[in-house]
């Protein structure tokens, strides 16, 4: 009660609202620009926070994070390019809806789900920080390895027609993830003398290359897009029936987002992929997934906005940043002399309350900012193709260049784009490769750390209860999807032979 009063007082006496609304607007913009990741968006405002009072400074950073996590879905839906890592799963059904002329509907679903997810995550953050911190603490290297494997098992449902092609694409991703310094010895691997490759290839570069650049290459030789009719380009919020249908994927997204968010290193990308997978598994309209299912947009978008709030749990309670974005938030805390840890909640309670209040305002204002800018975005993507393509090219390359002021990154994205064209020609799905790049380092480093711990004995993965549980779940998933595929295969064969017999 006291905190609530304090929160209300802070709202009217400090520039908290300004920081929250400003942060969200800036964040949506940064997140929506392909190539500019949430962490870059936050890094750009970080210097501004040095002179601010601590509460507003942290709110500005956290609100930027919220906005950026949402903003990533806009280009994912409209131009088949996730603006952030965590929006990658939204591409599947979001872009499919856009191609069917339902882009406005997809944007409405993603905004609606994102706001709900953000508010849910915030509630979890306020009410359950203590227990959630214990979840984060329980994760050993063995458990992180198992979590990564569980993440990889999703490849089965991202593969579309051919599991084999999905696996091949996933392996490509894992191979890319081995570039950079060895996680145990620190020896550089596959860097070809380029200092830019020492820290590995950022997943955002792979994503921009595979999705956006290869799409642009292909579009250059394709016919004019079909124009969407005027009525279809309006932003549309889900109606009553659809809202009811979205409840299940949203609950899945929020739950998975809460849990993944608190684990440093797991983060929004895995959360959105896993919740997409679960939404599909438990859906009554499985066949729609991949072909424009509203549930396929709602689940990952709820999840990644939930993560934007719960990712603060390890930052505030341990001072451990789970992602680059969280690292910048941590930097913001440290610059103001705020030391994360259990005592932060006692000694700097005013800052914590300001943060919670600010996040609440931020999530609400996200709704209004979305309503303001989405029609503009919709209008933009319905311009003549030549202009749009030139615009996207300019956006992407300025975005990629802005990350590290590196022309090498720009060249890398162009090369990955060529690889993307070949993958398209070969019918290899893109998302397993993205998943491989995102998870590769986490799986390898924790696998090898575990074996260093045990002296090379693989039994350590069974001794760790969480690892055992996650690995068994992954096994079940794989066995399940193999059985389904085998069943479908046999049925198709039988039909063919029956047809042959009839003929």
């Amino acid at each position: 009660m006291e905190s609530l009063l304090l929160g209300l007082t802070l709202l009217v006496t400090t520039p908290l609202v300004l920081a929250a609304v400003g942060g969200v607007s800036w964040g949506v913009l940064g997140g929506a620009l392909p190539g500019i990741s949430p962490s870059i968006t936050m890094a750009l405002v970080l210097p501004l926070t040095y002179g601010m009072e601590p509460g507003s400074a942290i709110v500005l950073l956290a609100a930027t994070y919220v906005g950026a996590e949402y903003g990533g879905s806009i280009p994912a839906i409209l131009i088949n390019t996730p603006g952030t890592n965590a929006a990658a799963a939204t591409v599947l059904d979001g872009y499919a809806m856009q191609r069917q002329g339902r882009g406005g509907e997809a944007l409405g679903i993603s905004l609606y789900s994102g706001v709900l997810g953000g508010l849910f995550g915030l509630t979890m953050l306020v009410v359950l920080t203590e227990p959630l911190a214990r979840v984060a603490l329980a994760f050993t290297p063995m458990a992180y390895f198992a979590l990564g494997i569980l993440g990889l098992s999703i490849i089965a449902s991202l593969s579309g027609e051919s599991l084999l092609k999905g696996l091949a694409s996933g392996v490509l991703g894992l191979m890319v993830a081995t570039v950079g310094s060895d996680p145990v010895s620190g020896v550089p691997r596959f860097v070809f003398g380029r200092p830019e490759l020492l820290d590995g290839i950022a997943p955002i570069l792979i994503m921009v290359g595979l999705f956006a650049v290869s799409e642009l290459y292909q579009q250059a030789s394709a016919a004019e897009w079909r124009k969407t009719a005027g009525a279809e380009t309006r932003l549309r919020f889900p109606d009553g029936a659809l809202r009811r249908r979205l409840i299940k994927p949203q609950i899945l997204g929020a739950t998975i987002g809460t849990l993944e968010g608190v684990m440093p290193g797991a983060g929004g990308t895995i959360a959105s992929f896993m919740s997409y997978n679960e939404a599909r598994r438990w859906s009554r309209h499985k066949e729609e997934f991949g072909h424009g299912s509203p549930e396929g947009v709602a689940a990952p978008e709820t999840a990644n906005n939930t993560v934007a709030a719960t990712a603060l749990v390890p930052v505030l309670s341990f001072g451990i940043p789970g992602s680059n974005s969280a690292a910048i938030l941590l930097g913001g805390l440290l610059v103001h002399g705020l030391i994360p840890g259990p005592r932060l909640f006692e000694e700097n309670a005013d800052v914590v309350v300001a943060l919670y209040t600010g996040l609440f305002v931020a999530n609400l204002s996200l709704l209004f900012i979305g309503l303001l800018i989405l029609p503009v975005c919709l209008w933009l993507v319905n311009r003549p193709k030549a202009y749009l393509m030139a615009f996207i090219y300019a956006l992407i390359f300025s975005g990629v260049y802005s990350i590290d002021h590196s022309l090498f990154d720009v060249a890398l994205v162009l090369v990955v784009g060529v690889a993307g064209v070949f993958m398209r020609l070969a019918g290899l799905p893109m998302l397993p490769a993205v998943l491989g790049v995102v998870l590769g380092y986490m799986i390898e480093s924790n696998y090898r750390r575990s074996l260093v711990l045990s002296g090379g004995d693989h039994g350590i993965f069974i001794e760790d209860a969480i690892a055992l549980g996650l690995l068994s779940t992954a096994m079940l998933f794989i066995a399940g999807s193999l059985t389904t595929r085998a069943y479908l295969f046999v049925r198709r064969r039988r039909r063919q032979s029956e047809r042959a017999a009839d003929g």
Binding site: E53, G186, V187, F318, I328, P342, R449, L453
Partner: protein, 317 residues
């Protein structure tokens, strides 16, 4: 007190403390770029931004922090090596730039830069879980004698890892030395009992230390730390190991003498500033000024010892 107030007070204090000669010889540039390889909010970044706030008024220049990320310092070193040696650009160095030079064979390495002055040493400490069974470094060694120890260091190519490998050799025990992606991940694995001990910078764990969840067993410095008077050094515990995790500044090769002198004076002056002292003591940094004449040999010695270690352990062929 707001930031504006602090800056104002710092400026006043600096003016009052400045010897007349230093005030008269103005620095030849109005803007000086401080380069760090760490990302915004990272260790070196926070160090530089704090320093810039207090050092700017002392030197009478505008200090701008620039993050040249990528390649753990490789890109920053290239940037410095190709910049004019006139004092307009300075790089914040830590052991990382030596490790990167040795391990990654970048185009430009530490030999292409001129060590300018040292500013701080980071306190490196050995810590364990507060509710765990270990109370002294001797307990840790004894435990590792009966059963393979589980020790942790922050990153693979780091001074902390090297220190633990040397401790293991010196004590003649078996221990798994697990490296992480940073001090935070390491701390989590010490807190959840996966690891028995961790070695890291005191500032990374101060939150948990203050909350009483972690216990410090030993410090790796040459002398006991003012903030932790009851904690023995590793040397006192019988192992001749001292870690000097330096934080200093370097510039392009061939800096003019008057530039070097200006930095030497300004750094000594800013370290004595009581307001800045509050800031760096809270971050558990120990002032360790080293003049240009001493810093070059110090860096060379550090590099050759690190190289010898890397060759001995087979990381470098």
């Amino acid at each position: 007190m707001t930031f504006r107030h602090r800056i104002y007070l710092a400026a006043v204090a600096a003016l009052a403390a400045a010897p007349p000669c230093a005030a008269q010889t103005a620095y030849p540039h109005e803007v000086v770029t401080l380069v760090t390889h760490s990302s915004p909010g990272g260790g070196s970044d926070v160090f530089l931004r704090d320093l810039a706030r207090y050092l700017g008024p002392v030197m009478g220049v505008k200090l701008v922090v620039e993050n040249v990320r990528g390649g753990s310092g490789a890109r920053a070193m290239a940037r410095l090596a190709n910049a004019p040696a006139d004092g307009r650009i300075v790089y914040a160095v830590t052991p990382t730039y030596i490790y990167t030079s040795l391990l990654s064979h970048p185009v430009n390495n530490y030999k292409d830069l001129e060590p300018l002055v040292n500013v701080f040493f980071d306190e490196e400490i050995v810590y364990t879980r507060a509710d765990g069974p270990l109370h002294t470094l001797a307990d840790v060694i004894a435990a590792a004698r009966s059963r393979r120890g589980r020790w942790g260091a922050s990153t693979p190519a780091s001074l902390e890892r090297q220190a633990l490998e040397q401790l293991k050799l010196a004590a003649g025990v078996q221990a798994a030395i697990v490296s992480h992606d940073g001090g935070g991940d390491l701390m989590l694995n010490v807190l959840n009992g996966t690891l028995e001990i961790g070695v890291g910078e005191a500032q990374e764990i101060r939150g948990q230390l203050a909350a009483g969840r972690l216990r410090v067993l030993a410090v790796f410095s040459a002398e006991r730390v003012a903030d932790l008077p009851d904690v023995p050094t590793v040397q006192e515990s019988g192992y001749d190991l001292v870690l000097t995790k330096f934080r200093g500044l370097a510039g392009p090769k061939g800096l003019p003498d008057e530039i070097i002198l200006a930095w030497e004076l300004a750094i000594q002056q800013v370290l004595a500033d009581p307001d800045y002292r509050n800031v760096y003591e809270a971050a558990m940094l120990s002032p360790a000024f080293m003049s240009h004449a001493d810093y070059g040999p110090f860096i060379d010695d550090f590099a050759s010892r690190t190289e010898a270690y890397l060759r001995r352990t087979g990381v470098l062929q």
